[in-house]
Amino acid sequence: MTRLLAAMLLTAFALPLAAQDTMPPAPYAYRQLDDPAAEAEAQDLMETLRCLKCQSQSIADSDAPMAGDMRHQVRIRIASGESPNEVRQWLTERYGDYVSYEPQISATTWPLFAIPILLVLVVGAILYRRFGKLP
């Protein structure tokens, strides 16, 4: 029984292990920038960029090697003087809105912004009809 359990555990963990590379992380994957202001900018940006491998994590939260490589890119680009928006733009040009956790108003996302405003207007109209005409 223990053996079976051990074998099951092993097979469960063997695959993810085998599918990882053994290379050291990119230089700036875990190393902060020397300039604290630039590092703060990079950190804020990394928290709003989506890890492509792990789906529901930001690249700041993920330990996936690819997220490390993305942090490296973000840090060296910020350090070389690019603005956070330019870096985000560089990534959305490649991966689309998917990569950003900061929704922009676009042809596909405008209902997200319009619906709440519409709902508030509808509620306002209902309330007005109910109570607005009271003496």
Binding site: L15, A18, A19, Q20, D21, T22, M23, A26, L52, K53, Q55, P65, M66, D69, M70, H72, Q73, L91, T92, E93, R94, Y95, G96, Y98, V99
Partner: protein, 175 residues
Amino acid sequence: MSWRLWIPLMVFAGFIGLAAYQLTQPKDDIVESRMVGQELPYFELPPAVERGESISSADFADGTPRLLNIWASWCLPCIAEAPHLERLQREGAEIVGIAIRDRPEDVAQFLAQHGNPYTAIGRDDLSQVQLEIGSSGVPETFVIDGEGMIRYQHIGDIRPEDVPILLEELRKAGA
């Protein structure tokens, strides 16, 4: 009782229905590259194997359409697609590889074990080119036309049924 009282409940039931329907749908976690239709970004990579050839984006603009295969020796689906890459090569496709976060000795061992359909393999230790072309994992295969434009992206390992599709895309790209 006014029929209008039912409206909120119907809306709520609609939401439940939508959520239930979405839960039964297969998870779509494919991130397509927005670089398809655009020029291959500039890059130069050292060879991934000792005494191999280095690759650069300029190599692709010589008139010959090619497959650009993003892979790694540590990637299991890459083993599964190896025979199909070989078939593509036998059918006349020219295949350039980019090994992601890989060591030369591991690459050499993989090639010895699973065959080498590549004309050259570049070494991308920081996933730099991978990010440049909008690839989000290994393996992925891009069709690059003779002018260095990205024409098509295949995400995931190449299965037998994908071979004719890739050959057709290569043909469309001018092969």
